[in-house]
Amino acid sequence: MNFKHKFVFLFPGLFVLIGILIFPIIFTIRLSLSGWNSYTPEMNFIGITNYIRLFTDDPRFWESFFRLSFLSVTTVILQYVIGFALAMMVWREIKFKRFFRVIFLVPMMTTPVIMTVIWRTFFHESLGPVNDLLGGLGVKPILWLSDPVIAKFTVIIVEVWQWTPFMFLLLLAGLLSLPKEPFLAAAIDGASPFRKFVYVTFPLMAPISIGAIIIRLIEASKIMDTVFVLTSGGPGTATETSSFYIYIKGLREFQMGYAATLSFTYLVIMIISLTIIAKVLTKLMIKE
């Protein structure tokens, strides 16, 4: 085809995106080399002082990063397992199939912060229904939001509720697009449902699974809304994730320069680790 037409198609989108993003990115890098804070709100140059501070004197950032890794990996694994199970269940004919499909999709259509506000009342320790119903069964009130360990699991529950549907949708769309022949062959060989899943369904779904897991990991690494409303990072710093810590440093304490350092470091770590995860997952799952 003609040579120059292709640029007419590509360039509007590409340049709009670059145009909007170029300033923020350069600005972040420049800001990370400055000591901009509420006392000296100016773009001075202090070299890599901020980076030294981050790597030698800020355990709170690294703690929040490991917490984020724990939360996002756990939620994504749970979402994958549950999402796959749900997709398998409504893949073939069952009663009220379409009704269940709609129900399973609904949470991802709802605004996370708004649902989290509801969850907050839901898990309220004295006025919420969960502790009340459990109390009816004789269980002592559980400190859903104020116990440092349980609060993490509350965040996980809410995240799983919110985003399992996304996993479910990608996996179900994948299941529905699988070719019929391998399943016929397995049926002729008299394979049990379990063997059929292990040897036919799962390998065929591997590429789709990897795509879905990586997309979810990317989105889960940004977990912020839920934490912001549900626990505000608390109790203490028990549910504080990287994004939330950067938010505190930048927009509450106004250490803009340092927050930019955190942002940039965090972004680099994310890009590297997601690339590695993608490679490892591909190796692990495609080989079988």
Binding site: F27, L105, I118, A173, S177, M224, Y247
Partner: protein, 282 residues
């Protein structure tokens, strides 16, 4: 064995359905309560456990001066920002996706896949990383606290989604389709507009729905980049979540704000069952 499996299956489906529906039922019930029935003890069923009132719903349309919440204006703001940003993202994203699917690009070590990855990788960017520079950027060009400023920011959020879905979709539309059109005397733009686009409606619908979902549910940018002039729905609702929370109006406004997109769940399901989605999502 098979019986046990069937039992477990229905048990799990029931359990999950209850789990999905529970917060909605709680919100519906709470939205009809008054101060007494929220704060004395936990109540569930109207008339049986407590006397329902419409107060929580009434304050939604009252102006703030009269002690109301007024979510009507934020509602329209949200609709405007989401739709405008989605539309722009879809148009630009579809064009770019078509180019990436049909032509070969080479610039140094950069190939088609790298450009596609560049688009999609923008989703990796955590909102917080962008929000500080955007704050300063928008205040420099005078778009802070305005609808237009939010649209600009949302394009960054949404275009990657449009490109991601449409590249995959165009890869499945047979190349012969545009080649035939070109032989028949169309120029590349006509081939795209008259032949490829009409065959891509399912993909466009899916991409559109995803853009609308991810635009509608965003909270953080709206929270950082707007204050008083312009308020979007999620910010407005979360603002109710102060220390003394009026749970009834909170629940009512939450239900009103999540309601429109639940229709999207039905549309997605329709496409899923008709088999049109499988090609568009993978």
């Amino acid at each position: 064995m098979i019986k046990l499996y069937t039992f477990l299956k229905y048990f799990f489906i029931t359990f999950w359905t209850v789990f999905v529906v529970a917060p909605f039922l709680w919100a519906v019930s709470t939205s009809f309560k008054d101060f007494q029935s929220v704060n004395s003890k936990v109540t569930y069923i109207p008339w049986l456990d407590f006397e329902p009132t419409l107060e929580g719903w009434r304050v939604l349309i009252k102006s703030p001066a009269k002690g109301g919440v007024d979510i009507v204006e934020p509602y329209f703001n949200s609709i405007f920002v989401t739709c405008t940003a989605s539309l722009i993202s879809i148009v630009l994203g579809t064009l770019a996706a078509y180019a990436l699917s049909r032509f070969t690009f080479k610039a140094g070590f950069v190939r088609n896949n790298d450009i596609t990855f560049f688009f999609i990788s923008q989703r990796i960017m955590p909102p917080i990383v962008l929000s500080i520079p955007f704050f300063i950027f928008l205040s420099t060009i005078g778009l802070l606290d305005s609808l237009l400023g939010l649209v600009v920011v949302y394009i960054v959020l949404l275009m990657p989604i449009a490109v991601w879905i449409m590249v995959d979709f165009f890869n499945r539309v047979p190349k012969e389709l545009d080649e035939t059109a070109l032989i028949d005397g169309c120029n590349p733009y006509q081939a795209f507009y008259k032949v490829v686009l009409p065959n891509s409606i399912p993909g466009l619908i899916v991409a559109g729905m995803f853009c609308i979902i991810f635009g509608w549910i965003d909270f953080f940018f709206a929270f950082i980049l707007t204050f008083t002039e312009v308020q979007l729905l999620p910010v407005k609702v979360v603002a109710l979540n102060s220390s003394i929370t009026p749970w009834w109006s909170l629940s009512a406004s939450a239900l009103v704000s999540v309601a429109p997109l639940i229709i999207v769940a039905f549309i997605v399901e329709r496409y899923l069952s008709k088999g049109n989605l499988s090609g568009a999502l993978k």
